[in-house]
């Protein structure tokens, strides 16, 4: 499979009053064509900032300080703003966690879908009437694709007239309007109930298979990753700590953080057994020394861990950022 997105040594920083925060520190990743990559991490791990950086959406006081981002053979960091704008929404689309704040409350759903096509679709007819009906037909088709009943009527409605699950579907429909090669879905189901979550995730997997698109699924839910992603990348405090095929990473995690995360998930099967939570809290990202960031919470930590740790091979197609890998195999 050929590589669609390749990020190397990405560093995104935010200048805050407390000091410089390296929200993303040396992240490298690849997404192949047609693949679904799961990105897992807790709040503040840098998973959303990584992909906002890819989209060129990091705003002051934040900035992408280092690294390369190659998409479909082009260097995104080297592009002028208008070139980036042409790619964003057409070739790479992103859906946000909170559909209610991401959609414009003052525009109808139809108007918001039309915006994307007007901005990106050069194949639209230029005659006004034909153009308008082409946009409408396409919008109806997209709403139908994401399973919204009576799309013709729904196009004239405003976001507040839809339920949470429906709004998330509308955002997906807008993101898919221009048939992007890559869909970045940032916590698409976190705000949704489980029966609705299942519908939305199935929809994304389904459309991915049908359109041959790549998907990055950002989530904090390892169960979602287990069921929907080919590969998974675990992030902690701004770094990737483990990466590999989903079954292997979840079935036999190598990094102590991934292991701790899996052990802290309460499961009905573990009824009556104590869960083993990871002790302590995520370190403050301001002025972190260049050493293993997990060592203060790590059961395997030793004096030797207080050094900068690179990603190390952890099996075929797998890597982990840990010096104690021989103890976790």
């Amino acid at each position: 499979m050929s590589v669609l997105l390749e990020v190397t040594n990405l560093r995104t920083e935010f200048a805050t009053r407390a000091g410089l925060v390296r929200a993303v520190d040396g992240v490298s990743l690849r997404v192949a064509r047609g693949e679904c990559l799961g990105v897992v991490g807790e709040s503040g791990s840098g998973k959303s900032v990584t992909f906002s950086s890819v989209m060129g959406l990091v705003r002051s006081p934040g900035r992408v300080a280092a690294g390369t981002i190659h998409f479909d053979g082009r260097d995104l960091r080297g592009l002028a703003p208008e070139e980036m704008r042409a790619i964003r929404g057409r070739d790479i689309a992103m859906t946000m966690q909170d559909a209610l704040t991401a959609l414009n409350p003052a525009l109808t759903v139809g108007e918001q879908m039309a915006e994307v096509m007007i901005a990106h679709d050069d194949t639209l007819p230029s005659a006004r009437g034909a153009r308008r009906s082409a946009i409408r037909d396409r919008s109806v088709e997209m709403l139908g694709l994401v399973g919204i009943p009576a799309p013709e009527t729904r196009l004239r409605q405003y976001p507040h007239e839809f339920s949470g699950g429906m709004r998330q579907r509308i955002m997906i429909a807008i993101a898919l309007t221009c048939r992007p090669q890559l869909l970045i879905a940032d916590e698409p189901t976190t705000a949704l109930d489980v029966t609705i979550q299942a519908q939305v995730l199935e929809l994304i997997s389904d459309i991915r298979a049908r359109l041959g698109m790549s998907v990055v699924l950002i989530t904090h839910d390892l169960g979602v990753v287990a069921e929907h992603c080919d590969r998974v990348m675990v992030m902690y405090a701004g770094q990737v700590v483990e990466e590999g095929p989903t079954d292997q990473v979840i079935g036999a995690p190598r990094h102590p953080y991934t292991r701790g995360l899996l052990a802290s998930i309460p499961r009905p099967a573990l009824r009556g057994q104590p869960i083993r939570p990871i002790v302590g809290q995520v370190p403050d990202l301001v002025g972190l020394p260049p050493q293993c960031r997990f060592h203060s919470r790590c059961p395997l930590a030793r004096q030797g861990c207080l050094v900068q740790v690179p990603m190390l091979p952890a099996g075929p197609g797998r890597q982990a950022r840990c010096l104690r890998l021989e103890e976790t195999s």
């Binding site: 807790e42 709040s43 339920s163 699950g165 429906m166 109930d193 489980v194 029966t195 609705i196 979550q197 299942a198 519908q199 995730l201 199935e202 904090h220 839910d221 390892l222 169960g223 979602v224 287990a226 069921e227 929907h228 979840i250 079935g251 701790g260 995360l261 899996l262 052990a263 802290s264 998930i265 309460p266 499961r267 009905p268 573990l270 009824r271 104590p274 869960i275 083993r276 939570p277 990871i278 002790v279 809290q281």
Partner: protein, 335 residues
Amino acid sequence: MSLLEVTGLSKHYAGRPSLVQRVTRDPGQVVRAVNGVSLAVERGEVLGLIGESGCGKSTLGRAILRLHEPSAGRVTFDGTEVTALAPPALKAMRRRMQIIFQDPYASLNPRRTVAEIVGLPLALHGIASGEEAREITARVLERVGLKAGQLDRYPHQFSGGQRQRIGIARALVSNPEFIVCDEPVSALDVSIQAQIIALLLELKRDLGLTYLFISHDISVIGYLSDRVAVMYLGEIVETGPVAAVLDNPRHPYTQSLLSAVPEIGARRDRKARVRLQGDLPSPLNPPKGCKFHTRCPLATGICRSAAPQTRDLGGAHSAACHRLDEGLSLLEGGR
């Protein structure tokens, strides 16, 4: 006798009537947030209450404590009818019945120190004051994993997990027997969630507490409950011992809820899937008959016209569905 008995409890909210409705004395629309719920919680047990947003589970928790005044029904706690108590007696009773809230940000007054927040129940119930209150507060704070030295800090100086510990300390300080845990871990990250769950279980064991644990997360409920009640649109559709309900769910709603949970370890292709269509209907205008029939793959004529009665399935397991006898299951081969 159960520690807590709830019989036919309802909480209805009237919408604001329009002018025409006021003139014609039409009561207008009523939201039946909780509708005729009966349940019992034994001393020392955890009853897990599960349901999706808007099903009325939080309202039920609050109606039990009379934080929301019930519209109908009876709540009995340790032989005393809570729903019949006059305000002073109710206040005294609240010392024994406490609540932990979901949102560790909104549920703590940002302008009060931890000592004031956690110590307030001591003053309200006349348990202790001054130095003594401070000592008790410090002790409880240490019990929930915070430091006595943090007494004079404000909520914003704590992380989400630590704030939830403050909320737990506030619920514990009056030495209650029963605590309604209203989604206490839903707002927390996975690793912090595990810390709080471990703490709640430890406290229950050491202090002999009884919990009504409200959550939308089946994994959490399945892990820590002794018995489970499943709620849909203001009503309990299935209840029973946790193993019976999770391993052998009988109500089609419970079955679809369980199959929708993404699971670690279950291979994607092997997992039987039930996909519910559509959203939860509006409680303003709930479906007639069985409230689940609009989304139920098994619904037939009778489901659309008559509400099913709760039926005993043996082994303290019960469910409210017309089609229980037919041996139908949405889950292939069971779980």
